[in-house]
């Protein structure tokens, strides 16, 4: 097996570029790759025009909230940003483009990208605002929405455990969008709370096989949430 453990700075700088679509795992805090996001916000804040695909927008100044404050993000694809009033404000002022996707369709579109399926058909959202502008197909007497695959240039995950071959494992509710995102980008970076030797994870217990993962870095304890006032705009 290839050793996928890498240095945070090296791998992040080599991987993420302005204009890219970045898939960020996590449902609220659990599963959010805070170490990678903090490095991006603190050391790569010249990045611009990112599209962030995340279930939510974290909280103000936390996780992807840091990238939003730094003006690094042009567009967010999300299911709900209610915990981040700053993001809502930016959206309402037209400073941030936001596409809302029903949560299961969000997961399914990511999965479709990872699974090599260009699109799927669903009745979720029919006769609601969510259907606006989407192509429809008639099948077996039903009208169905066409939902397209949603992939990214890079995916950022936070695993509770990873072995050096990149196999990942999540505790409790931390798994959430990690599996679908971990298959939906050509580069997958994982920060792991615990990095284990190869063979330490039972093959049957692996949640995301290492063959999907390109680099594993050590997660650091999260820094405290930054109050708005302390944030220097770069």
């Amino acid at each position: 097996m290839i050793d996928r453990v890498a240095d945070l700075e090296t791998v992040v700088r080599a991987t993420i570029r302005s204009g890219q679509t970045v898939l960020v795992a996590g449902f609220g805090r659990g599963g959010t790759p805070f170490t990678i996001l903090e490095f991006l916000a603190e050391h790569c804040h010249d990045l611009r025009d990112l599209t962030i695909v995340k279930n939510d927008a974290n909280e103000p100044g936390l996780g992807v909230g840091m990238l939003l404050r730094r003006g690094m993000v042009r567009r967010v694809v999300s299911t709900h940003i209610g915990l981040n009033p700053e993001a809502i404000g930016m959206m309402n002022r037209g400073e941030l483009e936001v596409e809302f996707v029903p949560q299961g369709i969000f997961a399914e579109r990511l999965r479709a990208a990872g699974a090599g399926l260009p699109a799927f058909l669903t009745d979720i959202g029919l006769d609601t605002l969510v259907a606006n502008g989407k192509p429809t197909v008639e099948l077996d007497g039903r009208t169905l929405l066409v939902e397209r695959a949603l992939g990214g240039d890079v995916a950022l995950l936070s695993a509770d455990r990873a072995d050096r071959a990149g196999n990942c494992w999540w505790r409790g509710s931390n798994r959430n969008m990690s599996i679908v995102m971990g298959t939906a980008a050509p580069r997958v970076l994982v920060e792991a709370k615990e990095i284990l030797p190869v063979g330490a994870l039972e093959p049957e217990s692996v949640h995301l096989p290492g063959v999907f993962v390109h680099a594993v870095v050590q997660a650091q304890p999260r820094k405290h949430m930054m109050p708005q006032a302390e944030t220097a705009q770069s």
Partner: protein, 218 residues
């Protein structure tokens, strides 16, 4: 939980049965487990990725490794199972969820549900509500009877953008219980403290009334 909330939540608890797989929306629905016996046998699903949700964790934070879909730290019961979001919503869309208990801005007399967006005012996103509303085998809405402007939550026709059309089976308020009968939300039970007159207060449409009404504690 105030008295009206307790009335709603306790009435809802009577609709649950052992073995049912139930998802609770944010707000009033999350209070339902607190009025259930510990050995209720009801299996709670949390759409962020598990079944078998137990009690909240005293002193828990959003950094806990098990949080519910509202971000509150909680426990897992014996027999719980964790999974990823794609399986979680496969469970919902595939018809494996027996019941979703949701909140509402408006419930239409035809069963329409609006609970995600107030255009120009509140639009933080849709979360998992659309799939829960559309695909749970049964949807119960819990709501105060009137909104803060004195307008009934049960309306002749929803004015807000829909979460899902014709999805609500049961509406429980502190004054009354309505069930979908023949495609219309029908008054089937009145809380002992209330009367037909107080139930119809603030309602803008014609609501069918079951005859006979069921007792509140049925």
């Amino acid at each position: 939980m105030n008295e009206q909330e307790r009335t709603i939540v306790e009435r809802c608890a009577r609709e649950l049965r052992p073995g049912m797989v139930v998802n609770l929306g944010i707000g009033l629905p999350t209070l339902v487990p607190s009025v259930l016996p510990k050995d209720s046998g009801v299996v709670f699903h949390s759409e962020n990725g598990f079944v078998g949700m137990g009690a909240p964790v005293p002193g828990g934070t959003p950094d806990n490794d098990v949080i519910d879909a509202g971000g509150r730290a909680c426990t897992l019961l014996p027999g719980a199972a964790c999974f990823d979001s794609s399986l979680s919503f496969a469970l919902v869309r595939g018809g494996h969820l027996d019941l979703a208990v949701l909140g509402a801005f408006e419930v239409g007399i035809n069963g329409d549900l609006a609970n995600w967006i107030i255009p120009g005012k509140s639009a933080p996103g849709i979360g998992g509500g659309m799939e829960l509303a559309q695909k749970a085998r049964r949807v119960i809405v819990l709501s105060r009877h009137l909104d803060k402007n004195g307008r009934g939550k049960l309306v002749a026709r929803c004015t807000l953008p829909l979460t899902a059309p014709c999805c609500v089976d049961t509406l429980i308020t502190e004054r009354a219980l309505f069930r979908l009968r023949n495609g219309r939300m029908t008054l089937t039970s009145i809380h002992p403290d209330h009367t037909r007159e107080s139930v119809f207060e603030g309602l803008d449409g014609v609501v069918d009334v079951a005859d006979p009404l069921e007792p509140w504690d049925a």
